[in-house]
């Protein structure tokens, strides 16, 4: 098998080199090994010693964002397609991402429960306060519930009740269902008397531990939104297992983690997260809202490796605007050089993209709506988060493919976990999320061919047929009558045939009699274009030497 693949590789590489040298063949230089796609990578090799913890260097990080932006221009850096994708342009399971929604059954109940079902500390009171929260801008307490589970307890700000706590949970649930690792966050209700200060509890004042007092706790709670009957609503974020290593560096790899081989800024799962962030208005993308933990393997406690998390969605769903008053969030960087110059030079006549935003004025809901939402114009809060900055249309397309899989029931389940109390809030948020979900997908499906789920299937007649799904039609995002032109080529670029097909009611289309090239392994490249206009998708097909069956060995989106 190895010899066969090596032989194929050498042969095809030679052909590719010839084809790529000055050839204007529509096939192009991309060639795939005649092998099934990889759906899991092994980045769980034992890391016996915990990698070092990376501190969040706030000022350096923010300055570097602008420095990097300028330096990249001066270095004339090329745009690069994302790495960490398999031959079908999909992301395999790893310590960064696990294919969930649309790949395996994911019931609304499971979405509602999130990453660690049954873990909410709410029913395990009283809570023992161990210390105050360190870092970040909002107050919080580090507590332990009756079971001994440690969690971070945060609160809504008084002027924005329920906004941050609900957004944290809803965003986390959706991110988890989409495939990301997230901490187990829960909206909790409790009374002041449920908080017991541990004898050794402390608050850090300028690197010095000072005993935490009742007054400190009351001062903190005075800033929080508290119900009239004294019930306090909070966000309990359970501690992530393992040794904390700080955030995920925005570029490069962890030098002391042998499993970290793909520069973070080029990881598809990290870049594609931008589509998800745009959908949710999760603009607070930064080092500090990611997390690496050195964890035990679930089956082998002696083995350790680094697992990567996304976290802190509290400023999503319009929270940044509603809590921090920054209406420009989602639309501009914190300091957006382009927008600032446009405003400066026009004496403010330039209308910034965020200006039409309107607060829906529903308790628990941020400044979040589908009106004036521009899926292509999303910008994170700062320019420091390289994966989002470098994300291209292919990354957004991949992210959109995932987010469009959420059904109304699944979205409603995630929203339900946010425990919003205003009866208008949940329906508004679900409708808004669905509207934005569809806008996001429609936008990117028009910029990258939404032909997907390409497979060789057996036709009713018994012969092989090439089948694919037009995701834009499948999700009812486009209504235009659509047909497909399928051109088959040899690897040398010789057109073998041109076929036509139309989709069925669910956007699936199949064509039989796709010609087979006479090249090695019958390597054939098929270009599929839909009639709505836009770039094609190139499907690479070869004969499986083991079974003699035709199979899709690669997908190249253009």
């Amino acid at each position: 098998m190895h010899v066969s693949i090596f032989g194929s590789m050498l042969w095809i590489a030679t052909l590719a080199a010839v084809a790529g040298c000055g050839s204007s063949s529509p096939v192009g230089p991309v060639r795939f090994a005649n092998a099934p796609p990889v759906w899991r990578v092994n980045d769980r090799l034992d890391v016996p010693k915990a990698p070092k913890e990376e501190p969040y260097m706030l000022r350096y990080y923010h300055f570097d964002a602008y420095y990097d932006a300028a330096a990249r221009q001066l270095r004339l850096e090329r745009e690069r397609r994302a790495l960490g994708v398999n031959s079908l342009d999909e992301v395999p399971d790893s310590t960064w991402f696990t294919n969930r929604i649309g790949v395996r059954a994911l019931t609304p109940t499971e979405v509602h429960r999130g990453s660690q079902p049954g873990e909410s500390p709410e029913s395990h009171r009283p809570w023992t306060i161990k210390s105050s929260k360190i870092g970040g801008t909002t107050p919080g307490l580090i507590c332990e519930d009756k079971r001994g589970k440690k969690f971070l307890l945060k609160f809504d700000q008084r002027h924005a009740p329920e906004v941050e706590t609900s957004a944290s949970v809803i965003g986390g649930r959706l991110a988890w269902a989409a495939g990301y690792n997230v901490p187990s966050d829960h909206v909790v209700y409790f009374k002041r008397e449920d908080l017991v200060i541990d004898g050794s509890a402390y608050v850090k004042v300028r690197d010095k531990k000072v005993p935490l007092t009742t007054k400190d706790v009351d001062t903190m709670l005075a800033q929080a939104a508290i119900e009239k009957d004294g019930t306090i609503r909070g966000l309990a974020s359970l501690y992530i297992d393992g040794k904390p290593l700080g955030g995920v560096e925005r570029d490069g790899v962890r030098d002391d983690d042998p499993n970290d081989k793909i520069p973070h800024q080029h990881r598809r799962d990290q870049r594609g997260f931008a589509a998800f962030a745009a959908w949710l208005g999760h603009n607070d993308l930064k080092f500090d809202n990611t997390f690496d933990a050195w964890q035990e393997d679930p089956a082998d406690p002696k083995r350790h490796y680094v697992v990567h998390y996304q976290m802190d969605f509290g400023k999503a769903l319009g929270g940044m605007a509603r809590i921090n008053g920054r209406l420009s969030a989602d639309y501009t960087y914190r300091f957006d050089i382009g927008e600032a110059f446009a405003s400066l030079l026009t004496f403010g006549l330039h209308r910034q993209p965020w200006e039409p935003r309107v607060d829906p004025e529903i308790k628990g809901i941020g400044v979040f709506s589908a009106n004036h939402y521009d899926p292509g114009g999303f910008k994170p809060n700062n320019m420091g988060h390289l994966p989002a900055l470098l994300a291209d249309r292919f990354d957004y397309f991949w992210g959109s493919k995932i987010l469009i899989r959420f059904t109304r029931a699944q979205i409603a389940a995630a929203v339900d976990a946010g425990r919003l109390t205003d009866p208008r809030a949940k329906p508004y948020l679900v409708d808004t999320l669905i509207a934005r979900q569809r806008m996001t997908a429609r936008y990117w499906f028009r910029r990258v061919s939404p032909i997907d789920a390409v497979a060789i299937e057996q036709a009713a007649s018994g012969g092989p047929q090439l089948c694919f799904t037009d995701l834009a039609l499948h999700h009812n995002l486009e209504t235009a009558q659509t047909s497909y032109t399928i051109d088959a080529y040899s690897v040398g670029g010789k057109r073998l045939a041109t076929l036509k097909s139309v989709p069925n009611a669910v956007g699936r289309s199949c064509v039989a009699d796709v010609p087979v090239a006479n090249d090695r392994d019958n390597y054939t490249v098929v270009r599929i274009k839909h009639s709505r206009g836009g770039p094609p998708v190139m499907v690479h097909i070869a004969t499986d030497p083991a079974t003699g069956q035709r199979r899709v060995i690669g997908l190249e989106r253009r």
Partner: protein, 475 residues
């Protein structure tokens, strides 16, 4: 990749629902089985999942490499500027150098501290010194501040200041201040609105408005106190009392365009110059202020709505047969939010007068215009006389959430009496400003100002342009 399948059509009741949804959600356990190292033992490592035979990265083309080489020219100065800043920020974030230094000068709770200061003042030079601060010792946000300094605007300065914070009952605050200043670089341009000229013969400033750029020295001893009462409906009353002694001398400092005071002016005809002045000043001020950010969505401290109406009347009671006169003034501010952004029109009118005559009011006690606050685009204290009026307008617009630009124009003049007030021969200054805000309010404001009479002035300030200093601070 979704395992989408089937060529059978499903009725679509809801356009947002994928047609095949019903068939693609098989029953399955509702708890995810975590992936283990054993599960992926045979899988390829990260980076080998692509299945591609052609090179993933074809490298840079020759044109890009040439371009990159050429861009080394601008990149070098860019790096020379940026790297020290990066390095400093890195060291600060990594080792909290400022925090550690602060720890040397302050107590752990930051309630008390003694620390050195260095301040460069444009046109005056470097001032170095030390400050001491004690705050919230009695839990009422009260403050005791002390300062000594040498150089710059002051040859020597020593100041002690106590503010009661919330210690007093109700909406009452009070403060006491004692100050000693030895100044050597203050400007004197004579009286009135005269154009700047070179001195030929010593001018009698009381009858000749010709302006010559000169400097003088001054020793000030002052003890002042104030009581401020916040009233309902955004009203506030401030009662102030001060005892001061000032003596004057010619300056031994000369700027590039300065003429020695005694060559330019007949110092005998400058009221108070020879003998100095000692006086008691009492004042009542009534203010109605509603200035605020126009919206929650504007940065805190970025005024976009509201008004300020402020009037005051004071009595300066000179000791030892010195002049006794009243000082009065009024200030109006109005903020109009034109649009989101925010885009704000800021308007201000300010007027001030003294009742004493030109020849009896000590020259440093006359209303003055010019400098960073009133009539920008002119030198500090460029115009002085018995009456001063100025109107200011600025258009401010947001560049980003916490950065705003503004253009402004100030027009004003001084007058020898109320009867001579006119809008003729107005002096007009104008300029641009950049303001940076923090979550607490204005962080810094930089201004570039000029005037119809020329000149260019750069200011850096840490408070809004339309914040007026009290008379005790100014005179």
């Amino acid at each position: 990749m979704i395992a989408l399948c089937g060529s059978t059509a499903t009725a679509i009741a809801d356009p947002e629902t994928p047609a095949s949804e019903a068939s693609e959600t098989p029953a399955a356990p509702e708890t995810e089985v975590p992936i283990t190292a054993a599960d992926v033992a045979a899988a390829p490592p990260p980076g080998a999942e692509h299945g591609r035979l052609d090179p993933l990265d074809r490298g840079d083309g020759i044109a890009r490499r040439i371009g990159r080489g050429l861009l080394w020219i601008p990149r070098l100065p860019f790096e020379i500027i940026a790297q020290p800043i990066r390095g400093t920020l890195y060291l600060q974030d990594r080792y909290d150098i400022v925090g550690k230094l602060t720890g040397v000068f302050f107590t752990t709770d930051r309630k008390a501290g003694v620390f050195p200061t260095a301040l460069f003042e444009t046109g005056f030079g470097l001032n170095v010194g030390a400050r001491a601060m004690f705050k919230d010792i009695f839990g009422g946000q009260e403050k005791l501040k002390m300062r000594v300094g040498f150089g710059g605007q002051f040859q020597r300065v020593a100041k002690i200041e106590l503010d009661t914070g919330n210690l007093l009952p109700g909406p009452v605050t009070a403060g006491v201040e004692a100050r000693y200043e030895l100044r050597n670089r203050d400007h004197f341009y004579g009286y009135g609105n005269g154009d700047l000229e070179m001195a030929t013969l010593p001018i009698d400033p009381l009858v000749d408005d010709t302006a010559v750029s000169t400097r003088f020295g001054m020793r000030v001893l002052r003890v002042a106190s104030h009581l401020r009462i916040e009233l309902p409906s955004n009203l506030a009353v401030t009662l102030t009392g001060a005892v001061a002694k000032k003596t004057y001398k010619t300056s031994d400092y000369l700027g590039r365009s300065d003429t020695p005071l005694e060559e330019a002016y007949d110092v005998e005809r400058i009221p108070g110059f020879r003998d100095g002045t000692k006086f008691l000043y009492t004042e009542a001020e009534l203010a109605w202020g509603t200035r605020r950010a126009a919206s929650f969505y504007d940065p805190p401290g970025m005024r976009g709505a509201g008004n300020l109406v402020l009037v005051y009347a004071g009595r300066q009671h000179g000791f030892d047969e010195e002049a006794k006169f009243f000082r009065g003034g009024a200030e109006l501010q109005h903020y109009i939010r034109l649009a989101r952004g925010p885009r704000v029109l800021e308007l201000r009118a300010y007027g001030e007068l003294v009742t004493g005559s030109r020849d009896e009011v000590p020259f440093t006690e006359l209303p003055r215009l010019g400098g960073r606050k009133v009539l920008r685009g002119y030198e500090v204290d460029r115009f002085r006389d018995r009456v001063a009026t100025v109107a200011q307008a600025a258009y401010m617009w947001g560049l980003s959430y916490d950065v705003a630009a503004s253009i402004f124009v100030d027009a004003g003049r001084v007058h020898s009496s109320l009867e001579t007030i006119s809008t003729a021969d107005l002096r007009v200054g104008y300029g641009v400003a950049l303001e940076i805000y923090s979550s607490q309010g204005m962080l810094v404001r930089t201004e570039l100002a000029s005037s119809i009479d020329g000149g260019l002035f750069a200011y850096i300030a840490f408070d809004p342009a339309f914040d007026t200093r009290s008379r005790v601070e100014r005179y």
